[in-house]
């Protein structure tokens, strides 16, 4: 594999910032533009950039596909879990009002968790789909 020295060094600077920005978009979605989906895509793009520059094998060691599979399902389950939790707290499915002692806090908590679920699923899905595409046609698959 050709060693792309300058892109590699630059991406080492950029990838942590991209992932930090993804977390900012994730948890600042209540106040500014963005939310779980955008954050997940940005985080996934960070993973993809890493695997483009450092090779698929190393990327699979850093982000193991088995763990990503768990995150793919885990995000959806977190979203659904918040809905079920609302039922157990005495409300309707995905009715966040009952999640905390007053409706506003409940809404904040519910939106935060739900967006986190979306973000986890989307980031893991983007990375998994890319890994599937990039790993296609290799001898070890």
């Amino acid at each position: 594999m050709i060693s792309h020295l300058i892109p590699r060094v630059l991406s080492k600077l950029l990838i942590p910032l991209i992932m930090l920005f993804a977390l900012y978009v994730q948890f600042h979605g209540d106040y500014g533009p963005g939310g779980g989906f955008q954050a997940g895509v940005i985080f996934g793009a960070g993973i993809i950039l890493y695997s483009l520059l450092f090779g698929l094998d190393q990327a699979k060691e850093v982000f193991p596909p088995r763990v990503l599979e768990i995150f793919v399902a885990g995000g959806v389950l977190l979203y659904g879990g918040v809905g079920i939790a609302a039922i157990f707290a005495g409300g309707n499915f995905l009715d966040y009002d009952v999640l905390a002692h007053d409706p506003h806090h409940g809404q904040h908590l519910g939106i935060l968790l739900v967006e986190l679920g979306v973000g986890i699923t989307v980031a893991a899905v983007m990375a998994t789909i890319f890994f599937q595409f990039a790993g296609r046609g290799r001898t070890d698959d």
Partner: protein
């Protein structure tokens, strides 16, 4: 001033779209599709839809371009010439459909019209009550995650399903191998 920006962006969009259709080199077409998405994202920003612009820039210009490139790496990056013959019937069908669509736009409300039907249904409720019902400053997030929580839940499942589909189609071979190996081990263990 804003009209000029709109005009320039829409012109570029049209030019890029025509270029994508005309190009035989699929690699260049994929690159132009990324530019198309970036132009759309700029348009959404100018139209004050920052959340949509954000998504378009990240998904359209970023991820889908890379996925398209990955697909090209697996297939050919040159278009098959057999689809390039000029046919009169498809042209008529496309022109007619386009004319009907353009004709339909005359009935649509003007951009940003407060009297438009879409602004009369549930939108006033969201605008008036987001603050006391949800208490989240970003109204888009409030609508997406709370008022329309069911929709977003559905969308998340759609993404999940898409991932499962890709894993089965592209990685299905590996999964079958994994099961076969496990079954072989089981059989050997039994005997």
């Amino acid at each position: 001033m804003l009209d000029i920006v709109h005009l320039v962006l829409f012109t570029f969009l049209a030019v890029v779209a025509v270029a994508i259709i005309r190009l035989k080199d699929l690699f260049a077409a994929v690159m132009l599709m990324g530019i198309f998405s970036l132009l759309s994202a700029s348009l959404f920003t100018v139209m004050d839809a920052v959340d949509v612009a954000f998504t378009e820039a990240a998904v359209g210009a970023g991820i889908s371009t890379i996925l398209m490139l990955a697909t090209l790496a697996l297939t050919e990056s040159e278009e098959e010439p057999k689809y390039n013959r000029f046919k009169i019937l498809p042209l008529i069908a496309v022109v007619l459909t386009g004319a009907v669509l353009v004709f339909a736009t005359f009935d649509m409300p003007r951009y940003g019209d407060p009297e438009a039907p879409i602004h009369q249904h549930v939108a006033p409720h969201y605008i008036e009550h987001t603050d006391d019902e949800i208490g989240v400053p970003n109204m888009v997030t409030a609508v997406l995650a709370s008022y329309r929580g069911y929709d977003t839940w559905g969308e998340t499942t759609v993404i999940f399903t898409a991932c499962v589909g890709v894993m089965l189609l592209l990685g299905g071979h590996a999964i079958v191998e994994r099961f076969r190996r496990r079954r072989k081990l089981d059989v050997e263990g039994d005997s």
